[in-house]
Amino acid sequence: MKSHVLRGILGALALLLVFPGLALAQKEIVVWHGYRGGEKAAFEKVIDTFNRANAGKIKVTTLAVPYDAFADKITAAVPRGKGPDVFIFAQDRLGGWVAAGNTVEPLDFFLNPAIKGRYLKATLDAMTYQGTTYGLPLNFKVITLIYNRKLVPVPPKTTAELQAMARKLTNAPAGKFGLAYWYSDFYYHAALMNGFGGGVFAGRKPTVNSPQNVASLDYLLKWINQGFLPAEPSTALITSLFNEGKAAMVFSGPWFLGEVAKGVDYGLAPLPTISEAGNKPMRPWITVEGVYVAAPSKSKDAAFELLKYLTDVPAARVLALEGRQTPANKGVYADPQVANDPILKAFRQQVDVAVPMPNLPEMSMVWSPVTTAMNVVVKKAASPKAALDQAQKEVVERIASLLKK
């Protein structure tokens, strides 16, 4: 027994002596991601291809981290050198990571115009904080118009059409609504807000109660008063309404499509232009899943090779067609199979008018006051102006209390 072990060890040592390169040159890269199901399978397939192409040089292993624990795990583990070499996450935490330090590696040193030109502009903007690029955009998520083909043969192009159509399709006592979306949620409302020319920050100063933001909420109230939106919206409610054919149109993103029941024949179209705001388009926020190199990683060059590969056309093609994701790579949309996919095409179209969700660390101070304001407005407990003034006051206070030392 003992001699077996000994022989094994000796054999391994001999192997190392014969192929020193095997032991020395191969870099181990650990990737953390939050994918499940089909997305995970597609991602792992891409990683497999990468591993095969780089056999003996780079070996990538992946770890799926439960999404709700992911952000805190990164914040806690990566700066202390206990984290992965590469991780995939949305851009909203980027500013916080940069402020906290030693989390994400700046990439500008590696980048050249050719690489930068590969991506849809808004997605690369989302990866940039204070003029420095910290990640490469992998996929993006954006909300768009999803409609039931049976009820809506031709999707509306303008909000005037949308309202007329929605009123016609609504039968509130029967629980039928022309349009359903989570309008009391700030993320969803952002499409109207940005469409009206509003926003959350000017530079680094919060502008929650800007006239444009107030106008967008006034406008939302007009929609609510027409009665074609269900009360107390939530994702679960909207999904079940749409699946039962009781909601003709929905504003939602790719995450919604997985929830749509088998029998529902749906189509996607860009969000309508706002007739009441000079026909400017509704501009939803996009969230971009970026691939980041962890700052304490020991194999940053190999990690960057992986980043480049993951965000290049062949990988993007697999992620799009098999993982049903919407890649940030521009070139992949020239691929005939991707170009003919109505879903991918619709999201790709929507990006052109979308706005990256702010990645400033101050953004985390915005959510809660603005969510409260949205709820108050939707319940008609206060006017949009009063509610947003209050939210602005709270946001300013919260940011001040965080920045004072």
Binding site: A100, D301, W367, L403
Partner: protein, 693 residues
């Protein structure tokens, strides 16, 4: 307790006690002094290096001839003078742009010239950010055709480029930053273990950061700062004095004690005085050295600029402003004439004296405690107890260590955190840097804006601590009342003899407790939905109007109360049922024989027998309900506007939605204190922990 047979020697104990106490006090004091001296010497070296760096930046900037200038400098003038950036920018004005090639050559010449007159500088590198190039370098490794500047930065030099980008981002962030916000450092600074200082400053052209100049000093051995002789003298002097006095006092215990305390006090005071003198001399030396450095550097820089043929007119050097901190703000310690500012030096000396008094006082408290511990014999008794119960302490050691790591460390860490301003922006800073004392507690407790009177009547401030506390108490009391009443009633019914299908009912009634409470909560949340919830549908069938449950504080409260009532009655029922079944039947039989009524039996037999089981259950239930996170968080989510938030959910939101970790820790500590006070009071009043009495 096994006492040694020989009589206790007070003399020996006080001598050992004083020796240990003086060692503690003077030793710590000497270590602190050595630390302060090292820090001051390091700061002196840093300030001198920063002055050299400032001179270097000024020279490089002038040599490069600057660029076209469109915008005025954005750096605001601060008290104590302009920042370095503004000084350079101001100096740039009215300059003609130079072509890029000549500019690069001029920069290389200037850097070489600067290095030639600065033997203490090991290497200078100038980085151009736009095209990631090394514009100039005097580092030995960068000589020779292959690696000489200008060239693109190599992979190994990425940190250099990243540092430049970081400084650029810092300068920009500081310019557009909010009023009163923390500034980001605009100078790069690292100290290597061998004493090499590496400094970096941004290079600005036309109001924008375009590059970085980095400078490394040569390794320099640091002189030892720990002074052994004063330390030994201060340690042994009181011990020897006490030894002599002991010859006079003999075994008189309190005389010895008084002498030891007095000697220790005088000793610490004298050492503090000596330390203050040492520190003051170091400060003075720093001021002198910095002034000298400024004079020397400005002379060298002027000579170098003349050598390079850079016209001096219109862009005078401002060496007084070269003594800056890492934020490129003048330290204000050097007066306009280049000499140390005596007023500022006096202020610093005053602050030093105050700090010294505090340190000596703290050290005195600790060493006096040690003196008393040893001198009065407590140390001997503790040692004896440890030795005697050796086995017992050994057995409990693993558990003690486990408790320390798993329970007490997180607990005390939370309490320490509550005294800091820890938040998402400063997770990389230490506790000392973010320390704010009692500020969080004061903020929470002294905010009495519970409600304000307006035209529409009383408007509650739902985010106020006292509102949330009142709501939490109301929530706890009503929940426990409902739980106990419902649970006890059901238990009494289930305890009836001859009740058909009793086991079935028992299982059914325990189900709410057996289901995971978050699932129950989510189901209730759905049931209270305005349009689709089953409760509103029932109301509509009965002909009523649907209620928007979470729009009004009261209806929202009813919703969470119902949910928690459902979740909590089972526990009370099980406890009561168990206690009911353990009451001996002969008690009731005897009561019946004596002619007691049913009600009388309940009051005199059932309730008293239930008490030992119910009271701890109520105490537990109060604490659980007080911290019933799930129901509030999932069902009402604090709606409307935080009105139904309880303390624990509020604290969660402070920590994980607002990322104010320190404030949230203070909030949690207050919750803990409230529950601690409640638990102590409750168990004292009821004697519940004493078991069945």
């Amino acid at each position: 307790m096994g006492r040694p047979s020989q009589p206790v020697s007070h003399r020996r104990r006080f001598l050992i006690g004083l020796a240990l106490a003086a060692l503690l006090g003077v030793g710590l004091g000497a270590a602190l002094l050595a630390g302060a001296r090292t820090a001051e010497r390091r700061e002196r070296a840093e300030r001198r290096a920063v002055i050299t760096l400032s001179a270097l930046t000024a020279v490089v900037d002038r040599a490069s001839g600057g660029g076209a200038k469109e915008a005025p400098p954005a750096t605001p003038a601060t008290e104590g003078g302009m920042g370095l950036g503004a000084e350079i920018a101001a100096a740039e004005q009215g300059r003609t742009p130079a072509p890029a090639d000549t500019r690069a050559d001029a920069v290389r010449k200037a850097v070489a010239g600067f290095a030639a007159v600065h033997p203490e500088v090991a290497a200078i590198r100038v980085v151009e950010l736009a095209d990631i190039t090394l514009a100039a370098s005097t580092a030995p490794a960068d000589q020779g055709a292959a690696r000489a500047a200008p060239r693109r930065l190599e992979r190994a030099e990425k940190p250099l480029y990243d540092l430049g980008e970081k400084l650029r981002a810092a300068v920009e962030a500081n310019r557009q930053g909010a009023e009163g916000a923390a500034r980001a450092p605009e100078l790069g600074f690292t100290r290597q273990p061998d004493g090499v200082l590496s400094l970096a400053a941004p290079v600005e052209r036309g109001g924008e950061v375009t590059g970085m100049v980095q400078m490394e000093t040569r390794a320099k051995a640091e002189p030892a700062s720990f002074a052994w002789l004063p330390f030994l003298a201060a340690w042994l002097a009181p011990v020897i004095s006490l030894l002599l006095l002991a010859l006079v006092f003999g075994e008189r215990r309190w005389w010895l004690a008084a002498a030891a305390v007095l000697l220790l006090g005088i000793d610490l005071w004298a050492y503090g005085h000596y330390a203050l003198g040492v520190l003051r001399a170091e400060r003075r030396e720093s001021a002198r050295a910095v002034a000298e450095q400024i004079a020397g550097e400005s002379k060298k820089a002027a000579a170098l600029l003349a050598d390079l043929g850079v016209p001096a007119a219109g862009q005078p050097l401002a060496p007084v402003l070269w003594d800056v901190d890492l934020f490129r703000q003048s330290r204000g310690l050097i007066a306009a004439n280049g000499a140390p500012d005596e007023g500022k030096l006096g202020e610093i000396a005053g602050a030093d004296a105050g700090r010294m008094t505090r340190s000596v006082a703290v050290l005195a408290v600790f060493s006096l405690a040690l003196l008393a511990f040893v001198g009065l014999g407590w140390a001997a008794r503790t040692g004896a107890a440890l030795a005697e119960h050796r086995a017992a302490y050994a057995y409990t050691l693993p558990a003690t260590i486990g408790m320390l790591i798993l329970v007490f460390f997180p607990f005390f860490y939370g309490i320490v955190l509550s005294f800091t301003n820890a938040n998402i922006y400063n997770t990389d800073k230490s506790v000392v840097e973010t320390w704010t004392g009692l500020a969080n507690y004061v903020d929470i407790i002294s905010d009495f804006h519970v409600a304000k009177r307006t035209a529409d009547g009383l408007v509650w401030n739902y985010h106020n601590f006292y509102y949330t506390l009142l709501f939490t108490i109301a929530w706890t009391v009503s929940n426990v009342a409902i739980g106990v009443t419902l649970g006890l009633t059901l238990a009494l019914i289930l305890n009836l003899k001859g009740f058909a299908l009793r086991p079935l009912y028992r299982v059914l009634l325990i189900l709410p407790w057996a289901m995971p409470s978050y699932i129950t909560s989510l189901i209730f949340k759905g049931m209270f939905h305005q349009q689709f919830g089953v409760i509103n549908q029932m109301i509509q069938i009965a002909g009523g109007h649907p209620v928007a449950w979470f729009n009004q504080p009261f209806t929202s409260f009813l919703a969470v109360l119902t949910t928690n009532g459902w979740l909590s009655f089972s526990f009370m029922m099980v406890i009561s049922l168990g206690a009911l079944q353990s009451i001996p039947a002969d008690l009731y039989e005897a009561a019946r024989v004596d002619g007691a009524s049913r009600w009388r039996q309940f009051r005199s037999i059932t309730l008293p027998s239930l008490k030992p089981a119910l009271v701890p259950a109520i105490i537990l239930s109060v604490i659980w309900t007080f911290n019933q996170f799930i129901v509030i968080y999932l069902v009402s989510a604090g709606e409307p506007g935080g009105a139904t938030e309880i303390l624990i959910t509020q604290s969660y939101k402070l920590a994980f939605e607002q990322y104010r970790y320190g404030y949230a820790a203070a909030y949690s500590t207050i919750i803990f204190l409230i529950l601690l006070a409640y638990g102590t009071w409750q168990s004292r009043v009821t004697g519940a922990t004493e078991g069945i009495g």
